[in-house]
Amino acid sequence: MPEAPNLPDACDVAVVGGGPAGLAAATELKRHGVPRVVVLDREPAAGGIPRHCGHYPFGMREFHKVLRGPDYAGRLVARAEQAGAEIQTGVTVTDIQPGGILSLITPEGTGELQARRILLCTGVRETSRAARLIGGQRPQGVLPTGALQSLVYLEKMKPFARPVILGSELVSFSALMTCRHAGIAPQAMIEPNERVTARSFAQGLPKLLGVPVHLGCEIERIIGREQVEAVQLRDRKGRRWELACDGVLMTGRFTPEATLARMGHLELDLGTGGPRVDQDGRSSDPNVFVAGNLLRPVETAGWSWKEGLRVAQSLARDLEAPRAREVTLELQIQGDAIRYLVPQRVTLPLEEAALESIQLRVARPARGSLLIRSAGRILWGRRLSALPERRILLPLDVLKNAAPDHPVEVVFEEEEGL
């Protein structure tokens, strides 16, 4: 096995992924005096997704300033380097094994790294056309927003001139803005649900830009042999029609880039699609921690940054003196209104938790009572009306009253007549 020349073969913490979460964590670990912190990123430069986002807003939480993605990424990298973290780019981690062993690919060949702890911060990607089971032909020009952003902002290129945008999440509006920036004219926004997914401020935007929005409408087929020529749409009433376009932007429906977990030995959570963790971000392997969007789809850069920081604090404490864990409580979702929650387990005592709340998302619009129960007792409850893709936070500290040998149940008791 040819060894990559300038890579260390051992370190204290190997951070996989140099996006906001990974860079924040590396900086914080150095501040806590951890000697060797190595950040590994497969891209030619660290910074993660924001490096591809030539738009605002980034950085309010971190720098108290509204920055563009690349400037924000640059500042995070500089901070991590100043703090003494070692950033290795162009390095792909292909495998992690119990005992803190990472397998690497570099342009010079393969390598191995031994770490006392591993922190996974590999982020999310959008759900592909294939995973959405969209039928039709397979022309080029069907892209996720991530691809559009890197073409437009990093390469100064454009893949099409008149695409349709599938989805109406925040990122879909980011796609809309990126199109506008590049002189690309979206023909329509298409949303399978009856309402726009993103928060209300975005709702006026397509109208403002003169882009028609089709709600309750699906892309049934993609048409075109070499390049996209049209999409066939179908609405709730079963009406079908073709819309001419030369590309399709598959926006949103984020899913964690959890390949290392999936292919390796970590327990995965079917709800988030990421590794199962406790309130410190610790996975089923006690030497492997997780932070940022890999925990769940999808949060802002600032949120992911904060998580990186907090998980790093837990990790630093763990390096000093691993905490004795007496009681582990599994959190179980009841019913199908809740899509996921994080963390999926907690270990008592709860003090100094890295994840300060239980993060939850609903699978569909729902109204009723959200309850945390333990051994038939209600620990916490709140009435609310919830929409998908919105952040919902539940207090973590109520779990200190949970019955020790029962799973904690989280349930959304829905009311009729929504």
Binding site: P2, P107, R125, G135, L143, H181
Partner: protein
């Protein structure tokens, strides 16, 4: 036809029409025999027809109609593939197949199928009880009732294989024309004058390997044809690589009259494949998928291997079988017109192609000239090794870094293919040669870098440079 055309000298012994797997194997065979070969393909790249999407199984022919031409060609093709694959750098996943019965009616048919296998010379099959199947395939649904193992069924690389055949032909003097459709031709009693969309050329013989258009080409050139193509679509789903831990053998159903049925198997690329359907249709080129069928395939997959319900889908595609109105290959020589029609190579052409080529060479010897084989045929350089189960290019120093992160395709591999003897002119061609963008992210991470690397290489580029001034602030 002009005066000049009529006096065009005969530059080729054999013109092969069609760059599917059959045409590629044909070009290799005739070139290695010493013939001057030209292969004519109407699409911008080879492998644009039936050979674009299949299950990639190297069949033994155990379930082929006994003593059919198809069965003979599969047996010969299989044997020759095993002989040459290492020298051509072609992967093979020798994982064997299990024919699994899921109902008592299917169990009742196993005996007859095993007899058929033995009659086809596949005498190493092993009957398996339900318990033995579960022991061998612990992730398979517990509902399996019994079956048998076919040890020599294996998995191929469906694209590198025909590429390697054609590259070997090119390395030994054959020529290829892409984006060159045969539109007509005349036989003057001793040779053919072929009209194409780009040029006119003269060849002693014509071999029709036009797959889904075989009957139409016969009509065009001979004014008659012995068969008619009945396209039969097959849709597939591809599961992410984590699924490969769930299946070891190729899981075949008990075949029916019409189809081999839905298969679950790994791919040499490390994924798991589920399909194909069998849908008769009129169109010879519409290989589109539909959501309802993909959804039902996803359900079917989870019925066979329950763990697949939790694994994401990374790709879907469809292929068209060039079936005809009969259940055998339709290969016919027209000796008085120096012509062989290779039709109806329906659902086993990848396995049988080398055997078909030998069979056609035999037919050609009945009317064609004798060739003198080169003493030391050249072996082409292997542009990329794509099997997940063999060493990959990223393991080498100087790989240039990873461009496609999901499939671990290196910059060096992409550049080698773009500068090679048969460069792709479209993204689909580059995909088939290197697997870029074929993984789980479908371009989320690599499209930008890829657009830059392939600039100028494709007829329709992945992206164009933004015009000056367009890159201002929004």
């Amino acid at each position: 036809m002009s005066q000049a055309d009529a006096s065009l000298p005969e530059r080729y012994d054999v013109a092969i029409v069609g760059g599917g797997v059959v045409g590629c194997a044909m070009a290799r065979r005739f070139t290695l025999e010493g013939a001057r070969v030209v292969l004519l393909e109407k699409a911008v790249d080879i492998l644009d027809g039936a050979s674009k999407g299949n299950s990639a199984i190297l069949h033994t022919g155990f379930d082929a109609p006994p003593s059919s031409l198809e069965q003979r060609c599969i047996a010969e093709g299989h044997a020759e593939f095993l002989e040459i694959r290492e020298s051509l750098g072609l992967p093979l996943l020798q994982c064997s197949a299990i024919v699994a019965a899921w109902s008592e009616e299917e169990v009742a048919r196993l005996e007859e199928l095993m007899d058929q296998a033995r009659a086809n010379g596949v005498d190493d099959i092993v009957p398996l009880s339900a318990a033995e199947i579960r022991a061998a395939e612990p992730s398979l649904s517990g509902k399996v009732k019994g079956g048998f193992r076919v040890p020599r069924e294996a998995l191929m690389d469906p694209w590198s294989t025909p590429h390697a055949y054609l590259l070997q032909a090119l390395a030994n003097g054959a020529e290829v024309r892409r984006a060159c459709e045969v539109t007509g031709g005349q036989f003057d009693g001793s040779s053919w004058l072929l009209e194409t969309s780009t040029e006119v050329l003269r060849a002693h013989s014509v071999i029709n390997c036009a797959g889904l258009f075989g009957d139409l080409l016969d009509q065009r050139l001979l004014g008659e044809t012995g068969f008619s193509i009945k396209p039969r679509k097959g849709q597939f789903l591809v599961f992410d690589k984590a699924a490969a831990q769930l299946v070891s053998s190729i899981i075949l159903p008990v075949p029916t009259e019409k189809t081999k049925g839905i298969v679950v198997c790994r791919t040499v690329f490390g994924n798991v494949l589920v399909g194909p359907t069998a849908e008769d249709q009129e169109s010879r080129c519409d290989s589109s998928t539909d959501a309802a069928t993909l959804k039902s395939l996803q359900g079917k997959a989870a019925e066979i291997v329950p763990g697949l319900a939790e694994i994401p889908v990374t790709a879907s595609y469809a292929g068209l079988r060039p079936a005809s109105e009969q259940k055998d290959y339709r290969i016919q020589a027209y000796p008085e017109r120096n012509y062989v029609s290779v039709g109806g190579i329906r659902s086993t052409g990848l396995s049988a192609a080398l055997g078909i080529a030998r069979h056609v060479l035999g037919l050609h010897q009945g009317f064609g000239p004798r060739f003198t084989a080169p003493r030391q045929p050249r072996v082409p350089e292997v542009p990329s090794r794509l099997s997940e189960y063999d060493p990959r290019a990223w393991e080498e120093a100087g790989n240039g870094g990873i461009v496609c992160h999901c499939e671990l395709v290196t910059r060096a591999e992409i550049e080698r293919v773009l500068q090679g003897p048969l460069p792709p002119r479209s993204l689909s061609g580059l995909k088939r040669r290197t697997r870029v963008t074929m993984g789980r992210c479908q371009g989320f991470y690599c499209t930008g870098a890829l657009a830059r690397i392939t600039e100028g290489a494709f007829d329709s580029p992945l992206a164009v440079r933004a015009a000056e001034g367009e890159d201002e602030d929004a």
